[in-house]
Structure formats: structure tokens, C-alpha cells
């Protein structure tokens, strides 16, 4: 009993660590896609900002500057995306894909040119990273059974970006559903003509949305390389941007359900690692690849309408021109 409790605690703990970058990216995806811009480029923006975060932190010694660098890099990628598919009305999927491939090539090329370490950045010392924060009253609380342990092991002891990711969810929810800006943003994604008729610039709204998305992806990247990890490794984002995309669809473009989708996908990955080499009764050993594929399979099943219906914003993927 006690042992299985320990296992659950450690599973929940790693779930949160794995889910954090997914949450940032999925919220970024919501901002972008709710305004009508498909964002396949989450992966690339996260990778690029992870690289810039680690590089800037290594060169300046300050993780705060690293974080700003990450946000700047990610927003620049967003602006390229915007220039291609808002200003020039190019294809949004192609543009996102270009950003992903560009980010892969750019991070490795620059990494090798700057540090000659095969694409990695030099390791960062702990004072150059966002380190785990311990909450106050831990000692007193640890005596409380179950809840105390849950607090000490799962809630407390993460780095600041983990807590920020939870804030990002509420921020996204508040901005999109409770502000005038959010109302306009959703309208731009559903019926841009209507927003245009009301005298609001569709172009400006969409640029603002993808810039917010850029900032959030920057936080995800910084989490990978200067908070959770201690430096950048090539292809470090490893498909997390696509999982976030899946989580966003799974959460039906709504922040709170998307948060739970991210946690679910994080939990599946944590469970997969945990179950490696373990024989389960009735089932036998569950291959880790099943757990890896499950988020994608679930998303495909959901999209196909077998469990509820996921409906994308109405004007998604369509460039806006005033004349037509």
C-alpha cells in the first residue's frame, strides 16, 4: 500500500515535469488557432527558443536574459510565420513546416559554429538555471499523512516556469473568454469579415495573437534548456510541439480541457517509462512504444468523431483578403 502510494506520487511528479512545456505550447496553439492561424510551427519555435535560451544564458550568465532571448527568438519565428501567411497570404501549414525544418537546421548549424560540441551548448551551472523552489512550511506539512506528502513531493519543489505554466492556462482562459480582446480574437478566427466590418483590423488582431503564441513557445523552450535541463541538445524538443498540438485538439481549443489533455499525455509518458520491463497481471509487459503512440492514436480517434466532436475555428487556415 505504502509502496504503491510512493509510485503514484513519483508518477504525478514526473507528469507535471513532462506536461509543463506541453502546456505552454498548447496555450500558444490556442491563441494562434483561435485567431485563424494554423500553428504547426510550435515544435520549431520551442526548439529555437530552447537553443537561444541556453546560448544567451551561457554567454551572459543570467537565466533571466536567457529567458528574454528565448522569447525574442520565438517571437521572431512567429513574425516570419505572420509575414508569410498573414501579409503574403501564403499557406499556413507550409509556413509552419518551414519554421520547424529551419529551426532544426539553424540550431544545429549555429550550435556547431559557436561551441564546436556537435550541436550541444556547454552545460550550465545551477545558478545559471531556474532551480526548484521549496515552499514554506514544508517541514511542518510533511507530517500530515497523504495530503502533506502530496504537497511536499508533487506541488512543491518545481522550478518557477512550472508554476508559470499553470498561470498561463488561467491567463489564456481569461484573455480569450473574458476580455474584449479575446472576443475579437475568437471572432477573427470564426468570421473575419464580421470583425472587419466592425472596423477592427483582422491583420493586426492576427499578428497580436501569434506574437502572444510566440511568447508562450519561448517559455516552453526556456523550460527545456535552462530550467528542466542544463543546456541545449540537438533536436531537444523531440516532437513535444506536435504532442502539444494534439493536446490542443484533444482539448477542443479550450484552455482548461487542453490543460487536462496535456496532463493526460504527460502522465502517459511518465507511465510508459515507469512500466518499462514491468510484467502486469492480465496484460503482461506493456511496450513503451504503445504509451508513446497513445497520445497520437487518441487524437486521431477524437478527430474522427468517435469520442465527441472536435471542431476547429471556422476561418482557420484561410488567409483574409478584404475584397473576396
Amino acid at each position: 500500500m505504502l509502496e504503491s502510494f510512493q509510485i503514484i506520487i513519483s508518477l504525478l511528479d514526473s507528469t507535471i515535469r513532462i506536461a509543463t512545456p506541453l502546456i505552454f505550447c498548447a496555450m500558444a496553439g490556442i491563441f494562434s488557432e483561435r485567431s485563424g492561424i494554423i500553428d504547426i510551427g510550435l515544435e520549431g519555435k520551442m526548439l529555437l527558443s530552447a537553443f537561444v535560451a541556453a546560448t544567451a544564458t551561457f554567454l551572459t550568465g543570467s537565466p533571466i536574459l536567457g529567458l528574454f532571448g528565448a522569447i525574442l527568438a520565438s517571437c521572431s519565428a512567429s513574425l516570419i510565420h505572420g509575414f508569410a501567411c498573414i501579409t503574403n497570404k501564403g499557406d499556413q501549414v507550409i509556413s509552419g513546416l518551414a519554421i520547424n525544418i529551419l529551426a532544426s537546421g539553424l540550431t544545429i548549424t549555429l550550435g556547431i559554429a559557436l561551441f564546436s560540441r556537435g550541436g550541444q551548448t556547454p552545460p550550465l551551472a545551477s545558478e545559471q538555471r531556474f532551480m526548484p523552489i521549496d515552499f514554506p512550511f514544508l517541514d511542518q506539512l510533511s507530517f500530515v499523512p497523504v495530503l502533506g506528502e502530496l504537497f511536499v513531493e508533487v506541488i512543491s519543489g518545481h522550478n518557477v516556469l512550472v508554476y508559470l505554466s499553470v498561470l498561463a492556462v488561467f491567463f489564456t482562459y481569461y484573455v480569450i473568454f473574458k476580455t474584449r480582446f479575446g472576443l475579437r480574437l475568437r471572432a477573427v478566427g470564426e468570421k473575419p469579415e464580421a470583425v472587419d466590418t466592425a472596423g477592427i483590423s483582422v491583420i493586426k488582431m492576427r499578428y497580436q495573437s501569434i506574437l502572444i503564441a510566440g511568447m508562450l513557445c519561448g517559455l516552453a523552450g526556456a523550460y527545456l534548456s535552462i530550467a528542466h535541463g542544463a543546456g541545449f541538445g540537438r533536436e531537444m524538443s523531440a516532437g513535444k510541439g506536435y504532442i502539444a498540438l494534439a493536446a490542443m485538439i484533444f482539448g477542443k481549443w479550450n484552455p482548461i480541457p487542453t490543460l487536462f489533455a496535456c496532463l493526460l499525455f504527460g502522465f502517459l509518458e511518465a507511465l510508459g517509462v515507469r512500466l518499462e520491463g514491468v510484467e502486469l497481471i492480465w496484460i503482461g509487459e506493456v511496450p513503451v512504444q504503445v504509451m508513446q503512440a497513445l497520445p497520437y492514436v487518441l487524437t486521431v480517434v477524437l478527430l474522427a468523431g468517435f469520442i465527441g466532436k472536435a471542431r476547429a475555428p471556422g476561418a482557420i487556415g484561410v488567409p483574409y483578403s478584404k475584397e473576396s
Binding site: I40, A84, D91, I99, L102, I108, Y242, Y296, V300, A304
Partner: protein, 370 residues
């Protein structure tokens, strides 16, 4: 997005794509310059690596073969306005088809027959991996872009599982199957040349290249000379018009995705039957994604795709030479160039149109109207 109808075709199909490509190379050159190397020397090294050394052309054409297959796969779907990002996964699963056929039959059936069955296997397995997203798009309304992305990841997980746990050669550490029996496979061109008494440098170029050229001609015929090609292009121009014309939209989508997946699956014959002679992890190496760049650059026409594949083949082969000649730039530079080509030739394809239109009207328009 459509071509301008102000400027003549030779400008919109010939000059503007070349200008976009030129822009992509200029930006790549700027990156090389900022890294502190000479961009012109890098180009020189790559051209030499792709064409000059013995066997270099063979390697270039071997890469070209892969890109023709994946480029055609993406292009066919584009003609029906479907965006198949799943070429990578379809090629990977196509490899499973090749592997299974060879492992099951190669001890019992003569090599020639096994090879033909294996080629069929690659097409059928690739097609299956295209049909499922096609079906989900046609009948359940799932967005094909998202499903094909998801299917790439599902394919990767499936292949790792099978190669690590099921079809791995017993007693072997690295995740790959045993070698196929010796009679199985496609002849490499340099061996073929030797039979004819010609001396050619060794390279992995094999009969798949001829296959790719044949398939390109078939592609042209299918898209522009058959009823089905007409239907899929109508669907690409306007779905409502296609419905009014009595075209069965869902079955067309599914068949297009089947053929597209099958084309991507053919990468496996070049890689597995032509070169590796076994099924191994990650043999697709991003060729499926490069196919998107190839299709965009080649304007979805087989001849354009051939030229674009040749360019990418040269970039891939020439890129390996960068590793030897430079200390600070490597073959990953090619990935950067590829990203920029997708950006300029794809997402920004029509950026230059207004500029060229203005120039054209200024210098030729007055002559025409006079």
C-alpha cells in the same frame, strides 16, 4: 493562392520560382557568412562533392530517386488539394511491407519473384498508411494535415516496437532484421554496367532510379491524360464544382491518398532493396519531409519534381562534403537551406508576384496595349 493572370506563364512558372530559389540561397549564404565562412567556397565544395568525385553523381542520383518518389507523393495529393505531410510515415511503413515479404518468402521462392512481391509490398503498405487518413478525411471530416502528422508518429512507434521486439535478427543488438537472401534486391547500376563491360565508380545508385523515372511518366499520364486525373484535379480546384459534376468526392480522396501513400512507400525499394538489403531503424531519414519541398519547388509537375529532386540530391550529397572541408559548417546546413526553400518557394511563393507584375506592366504592358 493562385498564379497571377496578368503576367505570362514563362514568368510565373519559370522566372518567379527561380527568383524564390535564388532568395533562399542568398539567405543561406548570409548565414554562412555570419558563421565566418565563405559562402562561395561552400557552394564550390558542395558542387564538387555532388558531381566531381568518382561515384559522386551516383550518390546524387541515389538521393534524387528518394525525392522523386516522395515529391510525387506530395504532389499528387496537392493536385486534389490535400496536404499529405505523412510521406515520412508512409515510406517507413512501406519498408515494413518490403521487410515482411522478404523475410517470409526469400528462403522458399526465387529471388526475382521475391523482389517483385517486395516492391508490391512497399506500395501496398505505404498505400494503407495513406488510405486511413484519407478515409478519416473523406468520411469523418478529420483534417488530413493533422491525421497524417499523427500517423508519422504512430508509424515511428510501430516500427521501433516491431524492430526491437519482433523482427529483429536474433542475437543482434542493433534493431535491424537479418539480411535478405542473396538473390533478392535491385541491381546497383555500377554492377549492371560491369556486365556490359563498362567501368563505373561504386555508388548506391540502383534500378529504382529507372523505376522513379518510369513512375514520373506514369504520374504525368495519370494526372493529365486520364478520367481519374481530371476528377482529382477538379476536386482540387473546387469541391462544390466537383460534386455538381457528379464526381464521387470521398472515393476520389481515398484513392488519391492510397496512390500518394504507395508512391511514398516506394522509397523503401531504393533504400532496402537497392542498398541496405535488410529492414533497419530510421531508414527514411526525413526524405518524406523533403518531398514537400520538392513538390513545392517542382510546382507539382513531374518534370519540375525531377529537377527539384536533382537539386536536393546534389544538396544532400554535396552537404556530406561540407563535413570534411569545413570545421564550422556541417551537412546540417542542408536542413537550413531546405527550410529556407520551403519558406520562399512554398509559403512566400507569391510574394514577388506584385513586384514582377509592376515591372512587367511598366516595360511590356505599354507595348501590348499599343
Amino acid at each position: 493562392m493562385s498564379d497571377s493572370n496578368i503576367i505570362p506563364k514563362w514568368l510565373s512558372v519559370g522566372v518567379i520560382p527561380l527568383m524564390n530559389l535564388f532568395l533562399a540561397f542568398c539567405v543561406s549564404g548570409l548565414f554562412i557568412f555570419f558563421i565566418g565562412e565563405n559562402p562561395f567556397r561552400a557552394i564550390f565544395v558542395m558542387i564538387k562533392g555532388a558531381f566531381y568525385y568518382p561515384g559522386a553523381i551516383g550518390y546524387t542520383l541515389y538521393y534524387t530517386t528518394n525525392f522523386i518518389f516522395t515529391g510525387l507523393a506530395v504532389a499528387l495529393a496537392f493536385h486534389a488539394r490535400l496536404f499529405n505531410i505523412g510521406g515520412e510515415g508512409q515510406a517507413y511503413v512501406g519498408g515494413l511491407g518490403v521487410g515482411l515479404v522478404c523475410l517470409i518468402f526469400d528462403q522458399h521462392v526465387m529471388g526475382f519473384l521475391v523482389t517483385i512481391l517486395a516492391i508490391l509490398g512497399s506500395v501496398i503498405f505505404g498505400a494503407i498508411w495513406g488510405i486511413i487518413p484519407g478515409y478519416l478525411q473523406a468520411k469523418r471530416g478529420s483534417h488530413i494535415v493533422i491525421t497524417t502528422i499523427m500517423f508519422n508518429f504512430i508509424a515511428a512507434a510501430l516500427m521501433v516496437y516491431l524492430l526491437v521486439n519482433v523482427i529483429i535478427e536474433p542475437g543482434q543488438m542493433s534493431p535491424e532484421t537479418r539480411d535478405f537472401a542473396s538473390g533478392v534486391g535491385l541491381v546497383q547500376i555500377h554492377i549492371f554496367a560491369k556486365y556490359l563491360g563498362l567501368e563505373m565508380a561504386m555508388s548506391p545508385l540502383n534500378l529504382s532510379f529507372i523505376g522513379a523515372l518510369t513512375v514520373s511518366v506514369g504520374f504525368w499520364f495519370l494526372v493529365w491524360r486520364t478520367k481519374f486525373g481530371y476528377e482529382l484535379r477538379s476536386l482540387g480546384h473546387s469541391e462544390t464544382a466537383a460534386i455538381y459534376a457528379g464526381i464521387k468526392v470521398s472515393s476520389t480522396i481515398i484513392i488519391v491518398m492510397a496512390i500518394s501513400g504507395g508512391l511514398a512507400g516506394l522509397v523503401a525499394i531504393n533504400e532496402l532493396l537497392g542498398v541496405h538489403n535488410k529492414l533497419l531503424l530510421g531508414f527514411t531519414a526525413g526524405y518524406g519531409f523533403t518531398g514537400i519541398a520538392v513538390a513545392l519547388m517542382g510546382r507539382n509537375h513531374p518534370f519540375g519534381i525531377f529537377l527539384a529532386s536533382l537539386l536536393f540530391g546534389a544538396l544532400y550529397q554535396g552537404g556530406t562534403e561540407l563535413d570534411f572541408e569545413f570545421s564550422s559548417i556541417t551537412r546540417e546546413m542542408v536542413l537550413l537551406i531546405q527550410g529556407l526553400i520551403i519558406l520562399f518557394s512554398g509559403a512566400l511563393a507569391y510574394m514577388l508576384n506584385p513586384l514582377v507584375e509592376r515591372f512587367y506592366l511598366k516595360y511590356y504592358g505599354s507595348i501590348n496595349s499599343a
